[in-house]
């Protein structure tokens, strides 16, 4: 085997690996961009320094988001002041909240429990306190919020108020 042959094989293998990496990542990105048709839309608004959630029935809550396990949701995320980022680490949800723009991301929570929602874009003095609580409840007939499987995340309950609009 001459040197040139080895080089051509090397080039081919490198190209094949790069194609695999690119195609795999692109494909997963494509799959994740699809939102199920029956997804419930939740409007998420970031403001210094709290998160507001508006459900499809018009109900709003601040600092607390209640979802049902195994049900699809689509978040429409925006901001009223500066740039924020809506992040639920346990469900790998992360998307920017930008004033004047609505970014969307979908989620099907497959585990019940309490989880952390955290602003992931530095947004001012109390950025680190810009948290909210995600409560994923069992579908009807389940034990609801009491069936916590992941209580390791400490989420401040301050500011968790429900507002009927």
């Amino acid at each position: 085997v001459g040197h040139a042959t080895i080089e051509w094989v090397y080039v081919g293998v490198v190209i094949a690996i790069l194609v695999y990496v690119g195609a795999d990542a692109w494909n997963i990105e494509r799959l994740l961009e699809e939102t199920p048709e029956n997804a419930e839309v939740i409007k998420v608004t970031g403001a210094q320094w709290l998160w507001t959630f508006e459900y499809e029935d018009g109900t709003k809550s601040i600092g607390e988001l209640r979802l049902t396990k195994d049900k699809p949701y689509r978040f429409e995320v925006t901001s009223v002041d500066v740039n924020h980022a809506f992040n639920i680490p346990d469900f790998t949800v992360l998307i920017d909240a930008i004033p004047g723009r609505i970014n969307t991301i979908s989620l099907v929570p497959d585990q019940s429990g309490e989880y952390l929602i955290q602003c992931r874009e530095y947004c001012g003095f109390s950025h680190y306190q810009m948290r909210a609580k995600l409560i994923v409840e069992e579908p009807s007939g389940g034990e609801g919020g009491a069936n916590v499987t992941n209580a390791a995340v400490e989420v401040p309950s301050k500011g968790a108020t429900a507002i009927a609009s």
Binding site: A4, T5, G12, V13, A16, V19, V21, L31
Partner: protein
């Protein structure tokens, strides 16, 4: 320089690996009713980490071999300082 027939022959395995790469990437459709971000993203992360570490191992292995083979004290490098016939170029 490589002949045309050699290039065509080499293209066969290269294209085969190329197509296999695409096919295996798209064969990972989830059978779940819904796509779970958490599962898909972490699975992708681990697959790409495997690729990254395999490439790292191959590169480090190649460097180790070259350093070992072309060191001054290697038996094949002793006593012969005559330049290659082609001056180092490929034949």
């Amino acid at each position: 320089m490589v002949s045309h027939s050699a290039i065509i022959l080499l293209l066969i395995p290269v294209l085969a690996v190329f197509l296999l790469g695409i096919e295996s990437a798209f064969a990972q459709e989830s059978t779940e009713q819904y796509i779970l971000r958490r599962v898909e993203i972490w699975a992708l992360f681990y697959r790409l980490m495997v690729v990254a570490f395999v490439i790292g191992a191959v590169v480090m292995g190649s460097i180790a071999y070259v350093v070992w083979r072309f060191r001054e004290s290697h038996p094949k490098n002793r006593g012969d300082i005559t330049p290659a016939k082609t001056g180092g170029a490929h034949q």
